[in-house]
Symmetry: C2
Subunit: 143 residues, 2 copies
């Protein structure tokens, strides 16, 4: 099954919660409470999203996290890339040179690039705001 990791899934859930009050600083443990996800995992995801520039953090007492940009400026692709790594269906895609046992004899070198590009651009065109606000409609218009 082609799928994103649970981390990326949780990440979107956490960002959805943060987007409800874009101005408020929220702590890791608070977000764990409201989302129902395990606290250490939430903390880990928040750190990663901060490192990727999607969230801003404040340390110390009264610290916490908030969105760096508004939800309509955050592409879904950025969230997935931050938590899951690059979006590409196969190991032997553009630029990835490692770990293909049959590269020598493989007749498919580079053939997946087009498919990758297609999926990538679909995820780049969609923002967090669109994902949250009405689910299916907006997306299907683009298809």
């Amino acid at each position: 099954m082609i799928k994103i990791s649970r981390m990326a899934d949780y990440g979107v859930l956490i960002l959805a919660e943060l987007a409800r009050e874009p101005e408020a600083l929220r702590t890791a443990s608070g977000l764990s409470d409201t989302t129902g996800l395990p606290e250490p995992t939430v903390a880990k995801i928040l750190k990663t999203l901060t490192g990727a520039g999607i969230l801003r953090s404040a340390r110390g007492v009264n610290g916490g996290y908030l969105l760096q940009k508004t939800a309509d400026q955050i592409p879904v692709a950025a969230i997935i890339t931050a938590l899951d790594g690059p979006i590409c269906l196969t190991a032997c895609a553009d630029g990835v040179e490692d770990s293909c046992a049959v590269r020598e004899t493989c007749s498919l070198k580079g053939r997946w690039n087009g498919v990758n590009a297609l999926i990538k651009s679909a995820l780049e065109a969609m923002t967090l705001a669109e994902l949250l606000e009405s689910g299916t409609e907006k997306v299907q218009k683009k298809a």
Copy 2:
């Protein structure tokens, strides 16, 4: 990283080899030789693709496998679905009811359906023949 499994990747490679001589019966061990992939794995994939109606098989001496349809009638989606299961990015998508720990509190129920549909239709629109014959060009026209 969003990715298809190695099985689906190998599957395409094997189908590519079969597509070179669409009329010929090819054995599992022969295909293992020409592709360089381990024989038991090739055999497993061939069985699965036969069960999915993508290949036709003949048992007994002089048996083997061949394509059920021509390469331009086989959608890439069918290959991936056969070997990897349904194409959906998240557990809690259309129809899938199991295994989402936070379903109760989750604010995203069904929100991924549009993204799934988009990716699925991209993979359904592309055939094995297109994937093989020129890689990137045709696909990018569709994007």
